[in-house]
């Protein structure tokens, strides 16, 4: 594949869990001296390889603990892989946690600036998008109130409006929109579909087979941290369902 937008090469992610939680100096030194700091190592991802082309809509499937969320976090750059490399050639909007960057003490208005800045945007850029964001979030006069007074739906709406309005190249989605009321869900689905039509790259983690069939053009099937298969949804999904039944 020439010039992939996301290039994941030989990525392994090893977690080292100390069997006892050591978080103070005394304990740490005591245990170092006694040589009893023990770690349990486990691989959340093992030698994962794949490329994503611009405009691809990838669904990542697999049972709980297969490493799907770890993979998304690695692509988002929240964590670095233990081995291998990940190259991302574009800007990312993580829809993993909507409004994760909100400061509850600041107003919705101020939080738009804060959150967009967290996504790496400049002031002039945000100024330009401001009215669109407010319009889409549709929180009315609450926009001038502290976010701590928002309902969870309002937070999600504002978060979604910001994350999609910053015009990212890549959307990372963990469990498509489980928040908000029916109207908002529809509205945001529409927006997402529009973005897909515009040729945005989407990486979607989901357990919902219908969503996979509706939105994805390729599926990455993870099993116990390894890529079990990559291919077209029509081909992978039936085998995946078969596999899940057998377990």
């Amino acid at each position: 594949m020439s010039n992939p937008i996301i290039d994941v090469r030989n990525v392994s992610m090893k977690f080292r869990m100390p069997t006892q939680k050591v978080d103070n100096l005394k304990e740490f030194f005591m245990m170092k001296i006694k040589r009893t700091v023990q770690y349990k190592e486990f691989y959340s991802l093992r030698s994962v390889n794949f490329q994503i082309a611009k405009g691809d809509r990838i669904a990542v499937i697999g049972h709980n603990g297969a490493g799907k969320s770890t993979l998304l976090k690695l692509i988002a750059g929240v964590m670095k892989p233990t081995e291998g490399s990940i190259t991302v050639n574009g800007s990312i909007a993580p829809l993993l946690e909507l409004g994760a960057g909100f400061d509850p003490e600041l107003s919705g208005f101020e939080n738009i600036y804060l959150n967009a800045a967290i996504l790496g945007k400049s002031k002039s850029y945000i100024d330009e998008k401001l009215s669109k964001i407010i319009e889409f979030a549709d929180v009315g006069d609450f926009i001038y109130m502290a976010v701590k007074n928002y309902s969870s739906g309002m937070r999600a709406r504002l978060g979604f409006a910001i994350a999609t309005e910053v015009n990212p190249d890549i959307l990372l989605i963990d469990e498509l929109l489980s928040v908000g009321d029916q109207t908002f869900r529809q509205k945001s689905l529409n927006r997402m579909e529009n973005m897909m039509r515009e040729g945005k790259t989407v990486v979607l983690v989901t357990h919902d087979i219908n969503q996979v069939l509706t939105y994805a053009n390729r599926v990455i099937w993870l099993d116990k941290g390894e890529v079990k298969d990559i291919g077209a949804p029509k081909e992978i999904v039936p085998r995946y369902q078969q596999f899940m039944k057998l377990r």
Binding site: E83, I92, G120
Partner: protein, 278 residues
């Protein structure tokens, strides 16, 4: 606007090393507005809900100075003239060091929720804390200026060197802030240990006593304390109104550069592990 980048673990050549730091500068550019936002946020939130607001930044050192003057001026009267000015020079500088490094120490742990979910250059958090504290510190310098006017201190042209010392102090504090914020991620008790370190530094910075009362055999303690040099240099140009001592200035430059470089290296070496400890 590229957020992502290549990250590789092993076998870094020199060229890569430079490329990496070049890329840092690029990301810094992308996130410079975030830095501004975080600083603004800190400033806005600090005195939120208090009636006197920013005035506290002035009243705090003023009252502290009054109390210490009452306590100490009788003891040191013969050796220090214009004790309040002498005192407040040291006090303001030390307060800035203490509060900025303390605030940045908790900044990474405090931003855990964000760091766990979204990619942001993490050094921005300790840096924003130090800079926002620096702004409060600059405001509190009004107390010093006021006091110098009231006591009719002689102010010479040498005072123009003062901003240089403040800049060096800022660089020093950013370096220390990066270091302590890293350590605290791994060892939460460092917070308590650090307050002891700061206290020891305060008593050995010659803030409220004259330098020459320290016996020769103990003076190495002062020289070992970085804050002593900053305060000493600042006082030379502001309180004494004398020309900078080249020795002192060089020491301060060296301290701040060493602090910043070791801060960057320590932070950079450990930042990928932060997430496992939060």
């Amino acid at each position: 606007m590229f957020v992502g980048c290549v990250f590789e673990k092993k076998g870094e050549s020199n060229l890569r090393f430079f490329q990496k730091y070049l890329r840092y500068i690029g990301t810094f550019n992308d996130y410079s507005y975030l830095l501004v936002m975080l600083i603004k946020k800190d400033i806005k939130i600090k005195y939120k809900g208090s009636y006197l607001g920013i005035l506290w930044s002035l009243m705090n050192p003023m009252f502290y100075m009054l109390i210490l003057t009452l306590v100490f001026s009788t003891i040191f009267k013969p050796s220090i003239n214009n004790f309040p000015v002498y005192l407040i020079c040291g006090l303001l500088l030390f307060n800035f060091f203490s509060s900025s490094t303390n605030a940045s120490m908790r900044s990474i742990v405090g931003a855990a929720q964000l760091i766990k979910k979204i990619y942001v250059p993490k050094y921005i958090f300790p840096m924003a804390k130090v800079i926002s504290d620096f702004i409060f510190f600059l405001i509190s310098l009004v107390v010093l200026v006021g006091l110098m006017l009231i006591t009719e201190s002689t102010i010479t042209w040498n005072v123009l060197f003062a901003p240089l010392y403040l800049l060096l102090l800022l660089i020093f504090c950013i370096g220390i802030g990066l270091i302590v914020s890293t350590i605290v991620v791994f060892f939460r008790d460092f917070e308590h240990l650090y307050s002891l370190v700061v206290m020891a530094m305060m008593y050995s910075s010659a803030i409220f006593y004259p330098v020459d009362i320290v016996p020769e055999r103990f003076s190495f303690i002062l020289r070992f304390n970085p804050m002593f040099h900053f305060i000493d240099g600042f006082r030379t140009v502001v309180y004494f109104g004398e020309f900078v001592s080249p020795n002192n200035l060089l020491t301060c430059i060296l301290i701040s550069i060493v602090s910043l470089i070791s801060g960057i290296l320590i932070f950079e070496k450990n930042q990928n592990k932060f997430i496992f400890y939060m």
